[in-house]
């Protein structure tokens, strides 16, 4: 059988082959890695540095010929003393807290139940993880129909259970339900993710620990609090951090469901940022806004990586 490496070597034009032969292993490695590094610099690092630079100016992207003024920290001071943006951060916090609370609670419970051996276990797991595999755009449109006051299933069920007429309230309209509606949708979509991580944690606990606890006559309740919870906790923390970072940046699904409304009830920081940047065209100001969000997410991501390493060490 002909040697493929020798065939490639023969096919390589002589001047190139001579040049490559003259390079060290390290140089060849750099040659292969260079395109990726170049792309990384062009797509990630350069825009980041450019955004930092713009955040200190009054640049407006819709007025490219206007003189750009250096404003120092003025954009940052404005954002960090603005009541409206503070309120948006609280809306984001409300969304973040309740989605994480329900996802952890339901996700862990589901994982705990699925972890028991019973018939149809695999099929049930597959069915539960289905929402997670859908596109957020599809989920947003799909739930907009479910929340329709006239034809939506949600209002119909509420009428059936409580007797309140279906068309008398709107889950996505005024009335204070909208922030909870987006929490419900995100919980529906992402609970399976938390469940899968918890399931991995539960399955990593060796049986002999429970057997030893049984011999010591530890009750099921005690086994749960002293074995299950401490051993699943790093996995749970990982899920919380991951979902926390993702939900902090949440944009698509909420835009499709409520567009930030009614009023500013569901105006998350990311949606407000998009409005500042591409509707009001305050590019410098929105760059400072983006940097504030970036630093927050970057800080959380650092903790996430640390937590991930701890789980890996186990």
């Amino acid at each position: 059988m002909p040697d493929p490496i020798a065939a490639v070597a023969r096919a390589t034009p002589d001047p190139i082959a001579r040049k490559v032969r003259g390079l060290s292993d390290r140089a060849i490695a750099w040659l292969f890695v260079a395109p990726t590094i170049f792309l990384l610099l062009a797509i990630n690092i350069f825009p980041l540095i450019w955004t930092v630079r713009l955040s200190f100016t009054n640049y407006r992207a819709n007025r490219p010929n206007e003189e750009v003024e250096w404003v120092g920290l003025r954009n940052y001071v404005r954002i960090l003393t603005d009541d409206g943006i503070w309120a948006n951060m609280q809306t984001t916090a409300h969304f973040l807290f309740w989605t994480l609370f329900f996802q952890v609670l339901i996700g862990f419970t589901l994982a705990w139940l699925i972890n028991r051996k019973f018939k149809g276990n695999d099929l049930l797991t597959t069915l539960i993880v289905l929402p997670m595999m859908l596109s957020p755009a599809v989920v947003g449109n799909f739930w907009t129909f479910l929340y329709q006051p006239q034809i939506g299933l949600v209002n119909y069920v509420v009428e059936l259970v409580t007797g309140t007429p279906a068309s008398s309230f709107s889950m996505l309209g005024p009335g204070g339900y909208a922030p909870w509606s987006i929490v419900i949708v995100d919980t529906w979509m992402w609970t399976p993710f938390v469940m899968l991580i918890c399931l991995a944690g539960l399955r990593s606990i060796p049986d002999y620990i429970y057997e030893a606890a049984e011999i010591d006559r530890a009750s099921k309740w005690r086994q749960f609090w002293t074995i299950t919870i401490p051993m699943v906790l790093p996995f749970l923390m990982l899920a919380v951090l991951f979902r926390g970072i993702e939900n902090f940046k949440m944009f698509d699904m909420v835009v499709l469901l409520t567009g930030g409304g009614p009023g500013n009830e569901t105006l998350l920081a990311s949606i407000d940022l998009k409005r500042e940047a591409f509707e009001k065209w305050r590019t410098g100001y929105s760059s400072a806004y983006a940097i504030i969000l970036f630093v927050t997410v970057f800080g959380l991501a650092s903790i996430y990586v640390k937590a991930l390493n701890k789980v890996k060490e186990r």
Partner: protein
């Protein structure tokens, strides 16, 4: 506590990373809390300090 303090003094990664993590957590809480605008105003600096600190101290010896 003594181990933590001695770790800080001997520039060990563990306690310094913990400190940076707490600072980031505090900054995120300050950013999103509904109690005082002053806390919100200073939140970015606290988070930034924590994040920069985390990057630096993650290169400290174990």
């Amino acid at each position: 506590m003594t181990r933590f303090l001695s770790g800080l003094l001997r520039l060990r990664r563990g306690p310094w990373e913990l400190l940076a993590t707490l600072l980031i957590g505090l900054g995120v809480f300050m950013l999103m809390q509904p109690f005082a605008l002053a806390l919100y105003t200073w939140s970015f600096l606290v988070t930034l300090a924590g994040t920069v600190m985390f990057i630096i101290v993650s290169h400290f010896p174990d």
